[in-house]
Symmetry: C2
Subunit: 355 residues, 2 copies
């Protein structure tokens, strides 16, 4: 149990206007949670303080050797005024998996959850209520030793910032176009692809820029060894509905184990739909497309929840999925998950946690 | 040509004592170079200011998505009082290769060199003079947009800090023990292994910790696809002398193109020694060891210049190279390169640049 020190802001910011589109990740609330780590003291000095700049020595390790991790989850305001988190323990468990992989000291799960709850409670007034909006929660840890040698840092900062975010699809679900990358690689088995750390995102930038120039909004990665097995979409995991079955790449060590991915699998099984987690050769997708058995393609992630995919491009092949329309299960999964998140659907799987 | 603004420190620090061991990367000089980037203005506001903390919004992209790069080179004080840089244009060229790979705007080569020269000149008094010491120069760039979306940043800071460093081997060259990693992978073809960015270093930490626990000082990486071709040692490139020939892994896109690596190759060719840059199967090294044709193993890097390798461990095989002693070429390369760096040896290849 953390003993959190509070320092409330003396100059609260104005809340965003009701009709503000709340562009993702650009507006931040009045407070932040901060906790420090030193080898001798462990994690200490938990505090909720006014949102403010971080001041670090120019030699701080995070600027040089990328020892940093983050998580992303959301808080929702229900119609009857409760504040719900969606499966926060899955994020916390994954955070500590990331920490172990990149040599950052773990944070006790109950302390992590307490920190999230307390800072969300502090800035509860910032949770937007328009349909599709939510309060995005960004916990992250950075290595702060002022030292240019390469080794795990002895000091860290754990910070949680909050950002009210608008509906990902203000006009309702909107299918995206996806570029299948055949030149660059995001991660490889034995590497850190399953950790939520900056390294995997910086590795994706060049390909993302190329895809945007070609008119595609996201990149689908293939594996780094055989360059043919489907991995993930950087910001999302990917699902295919082929001949009545839901198929998704198995967690192989180089893809991120998404919380929404897990939720999709649980719900599909709940609904009696066959789900296969396995290796998927991109040639299999092309064949299913040509056979007419590729019934749906969609991505899953915290930001958009479910993203129907309307087009896939692999080398010179353009696969138009469902003529660009939204699939039955894409819509049903989106409605069910957002329904649970907002407290409108019955939470039969016990996923929500009240703040 | 940069128009550099100067703000000299009002409170100069005390210079390190003559007998200070100058532990690598822990002591910093009085000043730093800083330059900002914005999409509209480009690189601007070049300045040399007192060494001071960097203040960034908690949402600054460098804390989340790893968009950061660095370089490392050294300045030396010659016996007749000149200040020499060693092949700075190779570092600058590599810096811009890194920039292109991770979508950071390039810095004109002449501006980059001017910035290094000016900041070194400003803190010239900090260049140590004891044998083996030097002034380590650390240029780096960080992404500073206060934005949680994943894309290349629109704003950056380019910073150069300086650190007087002691002799890597105060008692003379000292062979190291190296662990050949067979579980984790540093980088893969198509990834960012040839870029000097934090991602490659954070990926190496866990293996480094494991090797240290086993009594090994460094990790030798194998390729991520076949898990058998030799890549590099994280902080160094690697060379083998087998049956009279110098052999080193070819630059394949996943290893760092070291400046000292290139210098070693140039000198060996100058001396008429056959040099092969090619794929090297770890099994070939084991066979050469068993045959008695593995004559020398050494690493090359800016920090240690040349590191003789006394032992290699691959799975259960321990290869004792030269009974742990220093090879003829390891010593000769070390003496020649450090001789050129310090202005004692004739600089026949035109490698040094006077500040």
């Amino acid at each position: 149990m953390l003993n959190i020190r509070y320092e409330k802001t003396a100059t609260p910011k104005e809340l965003p206007a009701k009709n503000d589109p709340l562009k993702f990740g650009t507006i931040f609330t009045d407070h932040m949670f901060v906790m420090d780590y030193e080898t001798v003291k462990g994690w200490h000095d938990a505090r909720i303080i006014p949102y403010q700049p971080i001041s670090l020595d120019p030699s701080a390790m995070v600027f040089h050797y990328g020892q940093e991790m983050f998580e992303g989850l959301k808080a929702y305001k229900t119609e009857d005024g409760r504040v719900l988190l969606f499966r926060p323990n899955k994020n916390i468990e994954r955070a500590n998996n990331t920490n172990r992989r990149i040599c950052i000291p773990e944070i006790p799960e109950e302390d992590f959850l307490q920190a999230i709850k307390e800072v969300v409670k502090t800035d509860e007034a910032w949770i937007p209520t328009k349909p599709g909006t939510s309060l995005y929660i960004r916990p992250f840890i950075i290595a702060t030793d002022p030292f240019l040698g390469v080794r795990p840092s002895d000091t860290y900062k754990f910070i949680i910032i909050l950002s009210p975010v608008g509906a990902y699809y203000p006009e309702g679900l909107d299918p995206v176009k996806i570029w299948i990358e055949d030149e660059y690689v995001r991660a490889v088995k034995g590497g850190i692809g399953e950790a939520k750390t900056g390294a995997n995102y910086v590795a994706s930038l060049k390909s993302q820029v190329k895809a945007h120039e070609e008119g595609y909004s996201q990149v689908l990665w293939l594996d780094g060894v055989n360059r043919k097995y489907i991995e993930e979409v950087g910001a999302m995991n990917i699902f295919f509905k082929i001949d009545g079955k839901i198929v998704t790449p198995v967690l192989n060590g180089s893809i991120l184990p998404g919380v929404t991915r897990d939720s999709v699998i649980c719900l599909c099984k709940e609904w009696g739909l066959p789900v296969e987690e396995r290796k998927i050769d991109i040639a299999e997708i092309k064949k299913a497309y040509e056979d007419g058995t590729l019934e749906e393609v969609f991505g899953s992630g915290t930001a958009a929840v479910i993203s129907p995919v309307g087009q896939l491009r692999w080398e010179d092949t353009i696969m138009q999925v469902r003529d660009g329309g939204i699939g039955e299960y894409s819509q049903k999964l989106y409605d069910t998950i957002t329904g649970i998140q907002l407290g409108k659907e019955k939470d039969i799987l016990g996923w929500t946690v009240e703040v």
